[in-house]
């Protein structure tokens, strides 16, 4: 049996439901717990139970990020970076608000927890 604890959130992992139930009953007696059933949201990561296993996503976070940066009017593209675009440290105007950029990159960095496809782009821009 594995027990993952983050502050007041706990996940239990084990094959065999009886043992999990027994531990949950014990924990409830000692600490008074709220049983949320199968794991579906932990540490900001959504867990979807599918036939093949578990799919980890951050769909809510990705959508909120798009909203925050007003991307609703932008057209989608098929790859994270424009391969013809070369970035340098000397070209172009300075940003009026560099904090916005840093905040955005920070959020993208959090998104790479479930998105290896963004890992290179985030590395490249930070």
């Amino acid at each position: 049996m594995f027990l993952g604890v983050y502050v007041d959130d706990v996940i239990l992992v084990r094959d065999g439901e009886a043992e999990i139930l027994a531990l949950k009953q014990y924990l409830d007696q000692v600490f008074k717990i709220k049983d949320l059933g199968l794991v579906h949201y932990f540490l900001g990561i959504e867990v979807l139970q599918v036939d093949q296993g578990l799919l980890l996503t951050q769909r809510k976070f990705a959508r909120e990020l798009l909203q925050e940066f007003d991307c609703l009017d932008l057209t989608p593209v098929s790859c994270p970076l424009d391969i013809t675009c070369k970035l340098t440290a000397e070209e172009g105007e300075f940003l009026d608000n560099p904090f916005l950029y840093r905040k955005g990159i920070g959020k993208l960095n959090f998104l790479t927890n479930t998105r290896p496809d963004l890992a290179f782009a985030v590395q490249h821009l930070s």
Binding site: F2, E46, L48, V50, D51, Q52, G53, L54, L55, L56, T57, Q58, R59, A62, R63, L65, L66, F69, C71, L74, T75, P76, V77, S78, C79, P80, L81, D82, I83, C85, K86, L87, T88, A89, E91, G92, E93, F94, L95, P98, Y101, R102, G104, I105, L108, L111, T114, R115, P116, D117, L118, A119, F120, A121, V122, Q123, H124, L125, S126
Partner: protein, 201 residues
């Protein structure tokens, strides 16, 4: 990051546009009890136009599931592509030795040696040949580390053609088709493909 300019912000918006097309991607963890580890490592030599530092990238699979990945600009300048590859090899070997210990701690016996696939023959030769050469004497520490793990039987090194190199997507920007193809092979899956399938409750 210290002084971002307009082109940087535009590139950032490009990433968001990509994300807009694919907000539902996630990593699939397979439920089969396959506990074999394997690693892929790659590098892009002198990728940064200013500092001429290279980028290293690696992916680690447990069975069929992708469990660890990294894309990182290297801390120092590498003089050859083999050296850049070798430094990224060191990173994946460090990750694998940690994962191996973690698995043992969880009472899961993993299979050693763990295969590590790399598309640079020269880097593999440096690891296998215990002699220091003119061009590797300055990366002595990395050499010792990988050779030690190789000798101890923790890892085994294999060459893989670049087009089957899964860590490629973590070291350089790719075009749309190639990008989607590679991330598909990494086991990055669309949420929607499961929700719409008949087996989903």
């Amino acid at each position: 990051m210290q002084a971002p300019r307009v082109p940087h912000y535009n590139a950032f918006l490009h990433v968001l546009r990509y994300n807009k097309g694919q907000p539902d991607l996630g990593v699939l963890l397979h439920k089969n009890a396959d506990y074999t580890l394997q690693g892929y490592c790659d590098s892009d030599w002198a990728a940064c136009p200013h500092t001429r530092r290279s980028v290293s990238g690696y992916v680690v699979f447990l069975g069929e599931s992708l469990i660890s990945w990294k894309s990182k600009k290297q801390g120092t300048v590498s003089l050859s592509s083999a050296e850049a590859e070798y430094r990224s090899l060191r990173r994946v070997v460090a990750e694998l030795s940690w994962l191996n210990r973690l698995l043992n701690e969880l009472a899961i016996s993993s299979v050693c040696p763990i295969p590590v696939r790399c598309d640079n023959q020269a880097a593999i030769y440096i690891a296998k040949n215990p002699i220091f050469h003119e061009r590797t004497k300055h990366i002595e520490l990395d050499c010792h580390f990988i050779r030690e793990k190789l000798m101890a039987g923790l890892i085994s090194l294999h060459h893989i053609p670049t087009k089957r190199q899964l860590a490629d997507v973590l070291t350089k920007p790719l075009t749309g088709v190639l990008h989607m193809d590679l991330i598909g092979k990494l086991g990055v899956d669309l949420y929607i493909s499961y929700v719409n399938s008949p087996s989903f409750e």
